[in-house]
């Protein structure tokens, strides 16, 4: 379709290990439209970061084995030669990494690290890049950007460092910004500031956003589309309202129930998803979620459910949802 900026089809990522191939991501498929925010949710180890790294082609191959298609404006990124990919990465697709504390190079000034992209991709001179960098730093809300330009990362607080990361990513006004847990390392008040900033930038620059998070609160506040991942697979995909009002996969339901809310009854026990995410070598044969599922049936243990798309694009990987739900306890 015309308005689709990014189209991911059958993306799989495997890693070689001594005990054979371990599949971190299996058959991911989703699309991001211009100016849209897509949130990828899931617990640690579910493959959400690997997905974003694969899109950016930042995984070393081998040990990684990436297959499938990542169409960005019709071009398959996975087939591009590396130098062409370098021209897109940081320029048209940019990424903000999880840890602002460790993702900046400690031996270069913040200003230098922002200018780098401008000099490399836009052919600016050092002086032009400095001016533009200061402008960017002001835009993301760094006070006294002229002074901060020459500051080293250790001289800034976590929130400020994350802002430096964001201004680096925005330097070339990318069409797509991938955010890997941009605020998990930050305090709530700073997190709220960064989220507000991202929303504002999205509005002004019209960029699309892939936001990777495990915080359903952030999802509700930011997303238009939501992809829920579990053990390397998409288990549910829908627009944000549907995910919250009519979650069909038991895992999504569990995720939503287990967040302690400010308005929840503190005397009641928090609903939990029992058990833990299966290890990489003891993946269940059938549905990956079956061992933890409240509604697990005989069939789920032996047969892996396919991802079935229902009406209005709501897709679910669960026999119960795709073949008429026998609600026993609802």
């Amino acid at each position: 379709m015309e308005d689709k900026l990014l189209n991911v089809n059958d993306l799989s990522v495997g890693f070689e290990s001594d005990d054979g191939m371990f599949m971190a991501v299996r058959d991911m498929g989703f699309a991001v439209r211009k100016g849209e925010t897509v949130c990828i949710v899931g617990e640690s180890g579910c493959g959400k970061s690997v997905t974003s790294l694969a899109i950016m082609r930042l995984l070393a191959e081998p040990p990684a084995h990436v297959s499938g298609e990542v169409l960005f404006e019709g071009k398959d990124l996975l087939k591009l030669p590396m130098d062409e990919m370098r021209g897109i990465r940081g320029n048209q697709i940019a990424m903000i990494f999880q840890e602002p504390m460790t993702s900046l190079n400690p031996v270069f000034t913040c200003g230098f690290q922002i200018s780098e992209a401008l000099i490399a991709h836009q052919g600016m001179t050092k002086a032009q890049a400095r001016e533009r960098s200061i402008e960017l730093m002001r835009m993301v809300g760094i006070p006294e950007p002229e002074k901060r330009f020459d500051a080293y990362p250790h001289e800034l607080s976590g929130g400020m460092r994350q802002r430096v990361m964001i201004s680096m990513a925005l330097a070339c006004e990318p069409k797509l910004l991938i955010d890997d847990e941009p605020t998990t390392a930050l305090d709530v008040t700073i997190q709220a500031q960064i989220m507000e900033l991202l929303r504002d930038l999205k509005r002004r620059l019209g960029m699309a956003l892939i936001l990777i998070t495990h915080d359903m609160g952030i999802v509700a506040q930011m997303a238009e589309w939501v992809i829920v991942m579990y053990a390397g697979e998409e288990v549910e995909r829908a627009d944000v309202r549907t995910i919250f009002s009519n979650p069909l996969h038991p895992y999504t339901e569990g995720l939503l129930e287990s967040i302690p809310r400010l308005d929840s009854d503190t005397n009641k026990e928090l609903p939990v998803i029992e058990g833990t995410v299966p290890g990489m070598y003891d993946m269940p044969k059938g549905c990956k979620f079956a061992p933890r599922c409240k509604r697990c049936m005989e069939r789920c243990l032996n047969e892996a459910p396919p991802l079935v798309t229902l009406d209005d694009g709501h897709a679910v990987r669960c026999f119960l949802a795709s073949e008429g739900r026998e609600d026993s306890d609802a």
Binding site: E43, S44, P143, S157, G158, G159, M160, D187, V188, T189, I190, Q191, A192, Q193, M195, E196, H214, D215, M216, G217, I218, V219, A220, Q221, A223, V240, R241, F244, G254, L255, L256, S258, I259, P260, R261, L262, D263, S264, T266, E269, L270, P271, V272, I273, E274, T276, V277
Partner: protein
């Protein structure tokens, strides 16, 4: 020495009076040139047996230091700490060791707080060995009992920490803390590093254990929703000071301090149709604790600050029903 009986529910367990902990920020020879990080600055607090007191605040506000100073893992700069009415501020080494049988700590990071070279059984039995409790066979039996208590299996005692997931490791940390049968446990960001579904499991486990063993918790965290869920009372810290204390429902429904209000407003609401009030977002960063703002420490970021706020420091005032707040404008905003 701690008395051997278990504290009765509602009995005063910990009392902290005007506690200060300053860390030197430079080593100037002349006293007047020295600067200090005022991590904990004049905090008074009472914990009653059987309750959970939640302590929230942003990183660097001194909440962990307060916990560690109560356990005397950090020496207080001034002020006093009482445990069951007994002054332990200057308790000697021997006395402290006996006291620590009653007070334990659960750490934040389940990955770095367990020795990778020790088996789980050895890790959990270590406090028993330190305190000279039981014979080898008795300790093994206790380890098995503890593992069952926290939802693991007795045969896990022979395994090493790397064989467990984050949530399971946190359960091991909890079992270790409970080994010596303490009455007071400090949970320092005990669930912050865990995934939501696992976090809920550990929170439920902590409250079960409290009911079963009559524990008192000081629950330190930066997430207000988690703290509210587990706590009976909540204290909010900002730059080394407690700015508000109230019951957990009260703090959510009728918070009086503008900082508490801002913390609540900043939590992303898990409902796509209700939007966070961006007008109430705080701007700027937390100021440096080396040279905190004059008067009310929050006045530099407070949307309601008046001249009085920068001149005079507000004291914690009881607004009724044990709802304490340190704000000149309390009740007016």
């Amino acid at each position: 020495m701690p008395s051997t009986s278990r504290p009765a529910k509602g009995e005063e367990l910990i009392r902290v009076e005007h506690l200060k902990k300053y860390f030197p920020a430079n080593k100037s020879f002349r006293e007047e040139n020295r600067t200090y990080v005022k991590a904990v600055d004049d905090v008074s607090l009472t914990l009653r047996a059987g309750e959970t007191f939640g302590l929230v605040g942003e990183s660097g506000c001194g909440k962990s230091t307060l916990g560690q100073t109560i356990l005397r893992l950090e020496e207080p700069t001034s002020g006093s700490i009482f445990y069951r009415g007994q002054d332990i501020t200057h308790a000697g080494k021997k006395e402290l060791r006996a006291l620590r049988q009653d007070m334990q700590l659960i750490f934040q990071d389940p990955y770095s707080s367990l020795d990778p070279k020790m088996t789980v059984g050895t890790i959990i039995a270590e406090p028993l060995v330190v305190h000279g409790m039981g014979s080898k066979a008795e300790r093994d039996a206790r380890v098995a009992e503890l593992l069952k208590l926290v939802g693991l299996k007795p045969e896990h005692a022979k395994r090493y920490p790397h064989e467990f997931s984050g949530g399971q490791r946190q359960r091991i940390g909890i079992a270790r803390a409970l080994a010596v049968n303490p009455s007071f446990v400090i949970c320092d960001e005990a669930v912050s590093a865990l995934d939501v579904s696992i976090q809920a499991q550990v929170l439920n486990l902590l409250s079960h254990l409290q009911d079963e063993l009559g524990l008192t918790y000081l629950f330190i965290a930066h997430g207000l929703s988690v703290v509210k869920y587990i706590s009976d009372r909540v204290g909010v810290m900002y730059l080394g000071k407690i700015v508000e204390i109230a019951s957990s429902d009260e703090i959510y429904l009728h918070s009086l301090h503008p900082y508490t209000k801002a913390l609540i407003a900043a939590i992303p609401i898990p409902d796509p149709d209700v939007h966070n009030d961006s007008a109430r977002l705080l701007t700027g960063d937390v100021p440096s604790p080396i040279n905190p703002p004059s008067g009310c420490r929050f006045h530099t970021r407070c949307p309601y600050a008046t001249e009085l706020c920068s001149a005079e420091e507000p004291q914690l005032v009881d607004m009724g029903d044990g709802h304490l707040v340190a704000c000149h404008l309390a009740g007016q905003i």
